[in-house]
């Protein structure tokens, strides 16, 4: 176990500094009344101290570049390095977003092409790239649904239907848009309960939010029937693109009848997760919602590119960011799609599905219980440890923590909420068979340990920089910012 790394503030010595980074002193004239009174308690460290500190901190992380990271619904696949190096070309990096469009035709051609490629792989009528994360894409989607009904004078439609398996952002987004949430149950086989859906539909229905394949790791087989029912009731269909990786190039949300979708470019199109962002949540819309897209959107007119704004799309739900969204992330996605091409898109779905079904088959052979036996896995699947929990007391959390000691990041735990003691496992297409086999070996070893030495298992992890952390203390004795001792 490595030595704890002090805080950067604890390395500080008054009078020290990375002085190569300091510009020359300049005379700044500011009235005394406006000046800062307190001293600035930032750390004073040398450049090497800073470099060593953050290098050491980085070494306390698991990443895709260092470990198999089968986090369900997160699509932790290889982030090609070329995507980063091309997005960081100095011309792209140094460009001010408000510089005249005439000076950014190269960049805009990439973004326009990305819009077009995303439109085609999803089967939608138009795409806006501006949302800065999946959750903002969701927000844009529900806000467009709301704007559509209002523009038609259909103001009573204020309910969004969400399956109980849905990711927490779906209901949170609906609430943010001023909508009421109606949850509907899933059937034991993982599909939406059509009778429950029928009962939930009413003249108050604004729309339904669906993930397909669902967060239960299975394709919604009744999607055509659901589409008919919701549209017949006057509602619209929202596609949460969290699991788009599973069907890329195989079936398109637009063809399933969805009116609006968001894509997580940081999942399906392999832009980095960065320890929690930046994301990018481009939205695609059908013809009905096209007038309401968030701005700006890139347009191509007579061979030149320009940004469409509120003047071009007067019914737009508006602007969600200071400029035009996460351009640097969009460039990375553009590079990725260009390298993969149309054939590569289809392979994403094929090989992620192959890896998931293989891993599921092997884990079942090793004695684990599939939550939805008899169903094909999509690009991910759920196993439930309810039997192990009952028989040995070892929980899904214990398995997750012990996997870290075996050198694997844990799968998603305790989500979806309706499967007890679950692990949601998404291997992705970029993993080798050997890596999957090694993961199965580790799971089998933990299963044996649960039977022979559950106390050791429950104390895991042992090889990380820290052991299990006291979350209760973190919340009760809130310490979220270092303060200088004098303060």
């Amino acid at each position: 176990m490595r030595k704890p790394e002090p805080l950067i503030f604890e390395l500080s010595q008054p009078g020290r500094g990375a002085t190569a980074q300091h510009p020359p002193v300049a005379q700044a004239e500011l009235p005394a009344a406006l000046r800062r009174r307190s001293r600035l308690p930032l750390p004073e460290v040398s450049e090497l101290q800073a470099v060593r500190h953050y290098t050491r901190l980085s070494q306390m992380n698991f990443g895709i570049d260092t470990q198999f990271y089968p986090l369900g619904s997160c699509t932790m696949k290889y982030n090609p390095r070329v995507c980063n190096s091309l997005a960081m070309l100095p011309e792209f990096l140094g460009r001010h977003p408000l510089a005249p469009a005439s000076t950014g035709q190269g960049l805009m051609s990439c973004l326009f092409e990305l819009q077009e490629m995303l439109r085609n792989v999803t089967g939608m009528a138009a795409v806006s790239l501006t949302p800065m994360a999946g959750a903002q894409g969701e927000f844009a989607g529900v806000a467009m649904i709301r704007a559509y009904h209002r523009a038609r004078g259909d103001t009573a439609r204020n309910e969004i239907i969400v399956p109980d398996a849905a990711h927490g952002t779906n209901p949170a987004t609906a609430s943010m848009c001023g909508m009421k949430v109606r949850e509907i149950a899933s059937r034991p086989d993982g599909d939406v309960d059509l009778a429950a859906l029928e009962a939930a539909l009413s003249p108050a229905t604004a729309g339904i939010m669906l993930t397909n394949p669902s967060t239960l790791g299975v394709f919604e087989r009744n999607i055509v029937e659901i589409e008919k029912q919701v549209h017949a009731a006057g509602g619209l269909l929202y596609y949460d693109g969290a699991n788009l990786n599973a069907i890329l190039g195989k079936v398109r949300p637009g063809d399933m009848g969805f009116d609006v979708i968001h894509m997580n470019l940081h999942k399906t199109f392999s832009t980095p997760h960065g320890g929690g962002g930046p994301g990018s949540g481009a939205v695609g819309v059908g013809p009905r919602l096209a007038p309401y897209m968030p701005v700006p959107v890139v347009a191509k007119e007579d061979g030149r590119y320009r940004w469409l704004d509120e003047r071009d799309l007067p019914q737009s739900i508006g602007r969600l960011s200071g400029f035009m969204g996460n351009a640097g992330v969009l460039l990375r996605a553009w590079v990725y799609m260009r390298v993969l091409g149309a054939e590569g898109m289809r392979r994403v779905a094929e090989y992620s599905t192959l890896n998931a079904n293989y891993l599921l088959a092997r884990l079942v052979e090793a004695g684990f219980e599939a939550a939805y036996p008899g169903r094909r896995a999509s690009h991910e699947f759920i196993i439930t440890l309810r039997r192990q929990a009952r028989e040995t007391g070892a929980s899904a959390m214990d398995f997750a923590k012990r996997l870290l000691d075996h050198g694997f990041h844990a799968p998603t735990t305790y989500f979806p909420l309706l499967v007890p003691e679950c692990l949601l496992i998404e291997p992705t297409e970029t993993e080798t068979r050997e890596e999957l086999d090694a993961f199965v070996e580790a799971m089998a070893a933990i299963l044996r340990e649960a039977g022979t030495d559950v106390a050791t298992l429950k104390g895991a992890p042992y090889t990380m920089p820290v052991r299990r952390l006291d979350d209760v203390r973190a919340a009760r004795q809130l310490d979220v910012a270092w303060k200088p001792a004098a303060a």
Partner: protein, 129 residues
């Protein structure tokens, strides 16, 4: 097996109600509820003077992994929220029927109509569980 004192009344959503001699009622969450939530880290109690209908969300209890609304079992006006809980939410874990009380309410009507007695609540918990 969780504790279910015989002298209290209960709701299906796991609140308890104690009738006090001055006609007001004391309300909290049951031992079963605190146990399934785990270590509480935050409790939001209602302000005195707030009027509540039966079934209104009136307080929030949070653990590290869950957050749950507390619903008023009866209609009435809040007399006091338990201010101790702001600093010591763990009182609910340690003493759910005593120091862990959440609010006192002056009920709009006398009586405990619609509430469960201890036997009926125990049956609810057993059935759910």
């Amino acid at each position: 097996m969780s504790q279910i004192p015989a002298d209290l009344h209960y709701t299906k959503s796991h609140e308890w109600v104690r009738s006090l001699p001055d006609g007001s009622v004391e309300i909290g969450i049951t031992d079963h509820a605190q146990h399934s939530l785990g270590d509480l880290v935050f409790v939001e109690v209602p302000e005195a003077g707030r009027r509540l209908a039966a079934g209104d969300a009136c307080a929030v209890v949070e653990s590290v992994k869950a957050a749950s609304d507390v619903y008023s079992p009866v209609a009435g006006e809040v007399v006091a929220g338990n201010a101790e809980l702001a600093a010591r939410p763990e009182l609910i874990n340690q003493d759910p029927y005593g120091q862990g009380w959440i609010m006192r309410l002056k009920p709009a009507a006398a009586g405990v109509a619609g509430l469960l007695d201890a036997t009926a609540y125990a049956a609810e918990v057993a059935a759910a569980g």
